[in-house]
Amino acid sequence: MDEIFGIPAPLLFGQLLLGLINGAFYALLSLGLAVIFGMLNVINFTHGAQFMMGAFVAWMLLNWAGLGYWWALLLAPVLVGLTGVLIERTMISRLYKLDHLYGLLLTFGVGLVIEGVFRNEFGSSGMPYRIPAELQGSWDLGFMFMPIYRGWVVVVAIVMCLATWLVIEKTKIGSYLRAATENPALVQAFGINVPRMMTLTYGAGVALAAFAGVLAAPIYSVNPQMGANLIIIVFAVVVIGGMGSILGSVVTGFALGVIEGLTKVFWPEASSTVIFVVMAIVLLTRPAGLFGRA
């Protein structure tokens, strides 16, 4: 079969693949959001800004310290994660007893501040960041040229998602985490430092965002508003997957990437709206999202 719905089949395969790659970013970002929400019950609106910080820290490491992409992949999540720890300790930790709304509003405000400061410091048009030499070039897949770097992004994202899932579902720390989500008072009574766990969880979620930011730096424009453009979509992903569900956010992230990719072929104008249509439909039929527990 050469054509599917009037679109040449090779082109369609190419688009599916590209959708999957975008899905990798959605999955990584929503993973961090889901971890934070699952544990802290905070909807982290700062996530977009933290994604952006990851990319900028990579740029700073390169230009100020001479450390390249691989170092950035390691260091940027740690550094940005530390700022997350600071934010959690000084601000978010005061809000746990309150309605979700306040966490959302606080992190929204923090995001505005971070983006504003970066814009003042670095301007709005962005910074160059190159694909590392090891990952340059592309494969000829027959139906399209696939940049090696994109392949790397998908692989790393899947590994990262798996690792996070394993940590939470299969390790002792993960079981503490899950227990603390269900009943913090009881876990505290067992002698586990719940506040510290919450801090570390937030830091880890933020580090995931920064990690995604470093991955994005070579292919997206590194500018202060790069995260703001993504955050709303990533939100939708988390909601569709089921708030706080790790597996849900990962699967939904990839799936929505593909759906968006297909829309880009058949009705490109609607490709940023389609996610919201999906969200509305899912929420109406499955109130707690695809993988959420009602």
Binding site: D99, L101, L105, G109, L112, T273, L284
Partner: protein, 328 residues
């Protein structure tokens, strides 16, 4: 969703309502607001004040939902923006007088609110917020694609027209009194709704929906009614703004506008009658008078957000009320 706000649980003085559902203190506050509206155009710039009043009405309409029914809508820009577009289109293309154009704005808000609300009220809490956001994004997409909205250039040069065939609105002062009247009617209407038996049911839904249901109230009908009213008044506010400024653009349907109205209500005080008015005044003043600080506007806005959430959760009016131990 629990009552979002610090307004419950405080030991308020018991005050009787003395007039139109106002307590004595509220009446005093209302008198101050009325006096300010009457005097301010003589020493403050009227166009700026009109903008404040339009947004104040918008915030009051939004607050009806979050403050008194406990529903956080994250898509109110849809009603505000569409109200503006339709009012602008009515005044410019159909040549309708301003009073009709504004009413059309309200009708569009109500219609949209009915459709979206009927779907959204079936969910609660953060899911309700997300559904409203999803629909607002679809409305935004429609506005971007539709021919009559003029894409990102918007509808420009909308004539202010002549009110009731008598008052020429090209004069800023005449326009101001019209906007003030629209605002006051909307404000008092919301106040009336809150203090009606209908409003009591809404508040009982906010406090404990299952109990309200068990008392025999069809809570969904009440929530939908509140949603439609809120959307309609948002449409009126958007329509009025379009007439005042002569423009209707995508900014007003974008999701950031939905965020802004949350900010206004929060800064002023969720669930207080005067809070949204105060919040709108503060935020619009900031946008205008901080404009020359350039890039720092967003930073300052962010800091205010953070401060409000951390230190002044009741908002300005809520804090004052708490201090005086009265409901404002």
């Amino acid at each position: 969703m629990a009552a979002p706000g610090g307004f419950s649980g405080t030991d308020f003085k018991q005050e009787d309502t003395v007039f139109f559902g106002f307590t004595r203190t509220q009446l005093a506050a209302f008198a101050i607001m009325l006096a300010f509206i009457a005097i301010s155009p003589f020493f403050l710039y009227p166009v700026f004040l009109m903008k404040v009043l339009c947004f104040a009405l918008f915030a009051c309409a939004f607050n009806l939902l979050i403050g008194y029914v406990g529903l956080l809508s994250f898509g109110h820009a849809a009603y505000f923006g569409m109200g503006g577009y339709l009012a602008g289109h009515a005044a410019k293309v159909w040549g309708l007088p301003p009073e009709l154009a504004i009413l059309i704005g309200g009708a569009v808000g109500a219609g949209l609110g009915l459709v979206i609300g009927a779907i959204a009220i079936r969910r609660q809490g953060i899911y309700f917020a997300m559904i409203t956001l999803a629909f607002a994004q679809m409305v935004y997409f429609f506005c971007l694609q539709a021919e009559f909205t003029g894409g990102e250039d918007g509808i420009q040069a909308i004539p202010r027209g002549v009110l009731f065939g008598v008052f020429d609105l090209r004069s800023d002062m005449t326009m101001y009194w019209v906007v003030a009247a629209v605002f006051l009617i909307g404000f008092l209407l919301i106040h009336r709704i809150i203090h009606s038996p209908f409003g009591m049911v809404l508040k009982s839904i906010r406090e404990n929906e299952p109990r309200a249901t068990s008392l025999g109230y069809r809570t969904d009908d009440y929530k939908l009614m509140a949603f439609v009213l809120s959307a309609a008044l948002s449409g009126v506010a958007g329509g009025t703004k379009a007439i005042v400024f002569g423009i209707a653009t995508l900014t007003d349907v974008f999701w950031t506008m939905s965020g802004e109205v949350v900010l206004m209500s929060l800064v002023g005080g969720l669930g207080t009658i005067f809070g949204p008015v105060m919040g709108a005044a503060v935020i619009i003043t900031m946008q205008n008078y901080l404009a020359e600080f350039g890039a720092w506007v967003t930073v300052i806005q962010g800091v205010i957000f953070v401060l409000c959430v951390l230190a002044f959760r009741r908002g300005i009016v809520g804090e004052i009320g708490n201090w005086l131990r009265v409901r404002l």
